[in-house]
């Protein structure tokens, strides 16, 4: 009798496993399917869509949001948020403009300063959150969002800076064959982040903190340190996104990146990350970024007005999250 129940138990576990795998598959690749379907539909609707030029265009247009969203993924994985990335982007490129254009220093120094300013503001976010114990990153990053934007405007008295040296413009404007350099940078950085999040201690701790902060702390994880790293990396990505932007438009202006944080959040969420932390992947985020970029591009090709585009993207965010809610409800009910 005992043996029979044991056997039955094992069979059940097997079935459970298979179903789980099937669900995991949908969960993991659900947004990828959506992207593919979207691309197929657009291919039929417009003969300009599926061309090398247009696809590379999409790749180039998506790079800034790709970097911001990748940075944003980290705070969201810890059940936090970073509202300041758009403003950090602006202040980083303004400082870079002053260093490399106004002061005429070496472009490499300019690039370094740009990244450092970004990382520095991220560090500030992390410190405000963990050392001053502000109750939620929504508040600390809302503060730095305004501080950074204010500084970006103050630096040149709101004037834009143009005429960056070629080396700085290179990343945002050049191509390797048909592929934009900026997109290559994105893929490399995404790969590094993928390894970081899945294979490093700190990376796994980020998920653990998002899953259960107190359990993580009581397991000996230095939660403050991890959070500071998370926000610093988010700021660093904002600085890097700024570098790409300067290459693309050949100028730095203090209102650059306004509202970009919201696109980044949208991409992360469409890409399957949970706002409650602990769930989300680098590749999901990339798919989220591409869905937004393809959608924008497609709607442009179809001559849909920018205003309507905004509304469509709003609908996509809601549908994407709703599908996720449905999926989770089902998997919870079955457990």
């Amino acid at each position: 009798m005992e043996k029979v129940t044991q056997l039955l138990g094992e069979v059940n576990v097997e079935e459970h496993k298979q179903e789980k795998n099937y669900k995991n598959l949908l969960g993991k690749f659900g947004s990828l399917f959506a992207l593919i379907i979207l691309m197929i539909v657009l291919t039929f609707l417009s003969d300009k869509f599926l061309t090398v030029t247009n696809l590379m265009n999409i790749a180039r247009q998506s790079t800034i949001n790709a970097l911001l969203a990748l940075g944003m993924l980290l705070p969201i994985l810890t059940a936090g948020i970073d509202l300041s990335v758009g403003s950090i982007l602006a202040v980083s490129i303004m400082v870079m403009g002053v260093v490399s254009v106004t002061m005429g220093m070496h472009p490499i120094l300019g690039i370094l300063v740009c990244l450092l300013v970004g990382a520095g503001f991220g560090l500030l976010n992390g410190v405000l959150l963990t050392k001053l114990r502000l109750p939620h990153p929504f508040i600390s990053t809302l503060g730095t969002m305004n501080i950074a934007r204010g500084l970006a405007l103050i630096i040149t008295g709101a004037a834009p800076i143009a005429g960056f040296p070629y080396m700085i413009q290179y990343f945002g404007s050049e191509y390797v064959g048909p592929i934009p350099v900026s997109f290559v940078v994105v893929l490399v950085i995404y790969f590094i982040f993928h390894i970081f999040l899945t294979r490093s201690q700190t990376g796994r701790y980020i998920y653990a903190i998002g899953g259960n902060k107190e359990a993580a702390r009581l397991s000996g994880i230095n939660v403050d340190r991890v959070l500071i790293i998370v926000y610093t990396l988010s700021g660093l990505m904002a600085g890097l996104a700024g570098l790409m932007m300067v290459g693309r438009v050949n100028s730095a202006f203090p209102l650059a990146g306004s509202g970009y944080e919201l696109d980044a959040i949208a991409a992360v969420i469409i890409g399957g990350a949970s706002f409650f932390g602990g769930v989300g992947t680098v590749w999901g985020t990339l798919v989220g970024v591409l869905i937004i970029a393809v959608l924008r591009n497609g709607l442009n090709l179809l001559n849909v007005s920018a205003d309507l585009q905004m509304a469509v993207i709003g609908v996509v965010i809601i549908v994407a999250v709703f599908v996720d809610v449905l999926r989770q409800r089902r998997s919870k009910a079955s457990s």
């Binding site: 059940n12 459970h16 490093s200 998920y207 653990a208 899953g211 259960n212 359990a215 993580a216 702390r217």
Partner: protein
């Protein structure tokens, strides 16, 4: 024979391929305390959720006062007169007691439609008197009350509904001794008033004290319904686990060795008297006391989870510096927290990271990258050794039953190679079979030369498993009794002295 108030026949329920209920039958008589007993995963929670309309059943019938009924929503259950008091109380701490009692069914003035506070407060006061409480509590914010009184507010909510059946899901699991006594009295009183109660509990003494009849569930079946007074707990357990348990407490004796762990002049809060404590190898030391006696606070301070006011921690004769959990873990301390869901587990992450979390560096290779296969292997090994079910490390911790979750938490600490194990209420809310496994594990730890300290509010467990009982009371130690001299009365006396 009286007609049953509630009669449940052949209830089936599955989720996808998971058959949770496979034919449950039982009935509840008016004015009866009917106990449901079963291991974690036997289907109790699902059954309750069907009775309260949170889930719909696949097959079966429910008769209420002789009429066949279908319960689709929690509101329909309430309208029939079924109220439920969950383990996690459904109260709003910011609102006052009377506001909580009347939440969702506020009394309004007939003319203006505004709230009739006076009438609500008066009714709340009547209810509080009926429950043996001070009527003045009606206007106190609920958050200022203890857990026991908060629970009474839930009972008051049920009484306002004129519930005929109150379902209580492990109502005493979070209460202190005195609060438990108070609840028992109220249960007796409700029974006399003719209200039926479905009482879910793992505590056998309490079932004997309160229950009229007991229905035992196993693997989704109702095995049998028995009169409590004419049967013995051993019979219930046998029916529940499908085999006989040789012993409830498989205590093993080991030779007492040297002192391995001590506290010297240890103060959690500056206002408390300093604590001195020596724990020897080969013994299990039990920390007993009422809820709020400062046991968990002491453990947290030792572990560096909270700051301490002063004092030294000594392991193997050497003082160790501990100001945060990392240092505690590095010093060889493991702390199995009381609340595994909020402090122990990453519920929405799979077992491998849960098991390896406290000692991740063990899995980092020369390149500093984690060896994911090694982590999975480790998790698989513990799943096998500790018989964690289901044996699938890809599942998230949430999908395991309480007893198996507790094993996962313990596995996490075994993975750190700790030397000192502090267990805080290690068997709370887990079934008898899993309890015995936890006890066996403690034996094994002692045998392997570890220091084991167990905080527990379950006195039989302390008396059954420990070699020495330390009693705490308002932050200090009021008794240190070798097990041979420890009796229930003595421990309770030390726990309540001066209160």
């Amino acid at each position: 024979m009286t007609k049953p108030l509630l009669e449940v026949k052949e209830i089936y329920k599955s989720f996808a391929n998971n058959h949770v209920l496979k034919g449950v039958n039982f009935n509840v008589l008016p004015g009866e305390v009917h106990v449901l007993l079963g291991e974690n995963g036997a289907g109790k929670s699902t059954l309750i959720k069907i009775l309260t309309g949170a889930y719909s059943m696949d097959k079966g019938t429910i008769h209420w006062e002789g009429q066949a009924v279908k319960i689709h929503t929690p509101i329909e259950a309430m309208e029939l007169g079924i109220a439920t008091i969950y383990q996690e109380l459904n109260v709003i701490k910011e609102l006052t007691v009377y506001e909580n009692i009347f939440l969702g069914r506020e009394v309004k003035n007939s003319k203006m439609g505004l709230l009739n506070r006076k009438q609500m407060i008066e009714k709340a006061q009547d209810l509080l008197i009926r429950l043996g409480q001070n009527p003045k509590l009606a206007t106190v914010p609920l958050g200022q009350l203890g857990l026991g009184q908060q629970q009474l507010v839930e009972i008051a909510k049920a009484l306002i509904l004129e519930a005929k059946l109150i379902i209580m899901d492990e109502p005493t699991s979070c209460l202190s001794g005195r609060e438990v006594e108070q609840l028992y009295k109220i249960v007796d009183q409700l029974r006399e008033e003719g209200i039926s109660i479905i009482f879910i509990s793992h505590r056998l003494e309490e079932i004997q004290r309160l229950g009229d009849r007991i229905t035992i569930l196993r693997d989704g079946y109702s095995v049998e319904t028995l009169p409590v007074s004419e049967t013995k707990p051993d019979e219930w357990i046998e029916l529940m686990v499908g085999r006989s348990l040789e012993e409830k407490f498989p205590k093993k004796q080991f030779e007492r060795g040297d002192v391995g762990f001590s506290l010297k002049g240890f103060t959690v809060e500056a206002s408390h008297a300093p604590i001195d404590l020596d724990v020897h190898y080969g013994e299990i030391v039990g920390l007993s006391g009422l809820v709020g006696a400062g046991r968990t606070e002491l453990a947290r301070a030792i572990f560096g989870a909270d700051k301490r006011a002063g004092g030294k921690i000594v392991i193997d004769g050497k003082e160790v510096k501990i100001t945060n959990p990392r240092q505690a873990i590095d010093a060889g301390i493991a702390f199995i927290t009381e609340d595994r869901k909020s402090e122990g587990l990453l519920l929405d992450l799979p077992l491998d990271i849960n098991v390896c979390l406290a000692n991740m560096k063990k899995f980092a290779g020369r390149t500093k990258l984690l060896n994911l296969n090694k982590m999975k292997e480790q998790a698989k090994r513990y799943v096998k050794e500790m018989q964690i079910r289901p044996n699938n490390i890809e599942l998230n911790a949430r999908n395991f039953s309480g007893g198996n979750q507790q094993k996962v938490v313990i596995a996490k600490w075994l993975c750190t190679n700790a030397k000192v194990f502090i267990f805080d209420e290690p068997t709370r809310g887990i079934d008898v079979g899993a309890k015995v496994e936890v006890y066996r594990l403690m034996n094994k730890l002692v045998e392997e030369g570890k220091i084991v300290i167990m905080i527990s509010s379950d006195l039989p467990e302390i008396l059954g498993m420990c070699d020495r009982v330390i009693v705490m009371n308002t932050g200090r130690i009021t008794a240190d009794l070798p097990i041979a001299q420890a009796t229930q009365e003595q421990v309770m006396k030390a726990a309540t002295i001066g209160l």
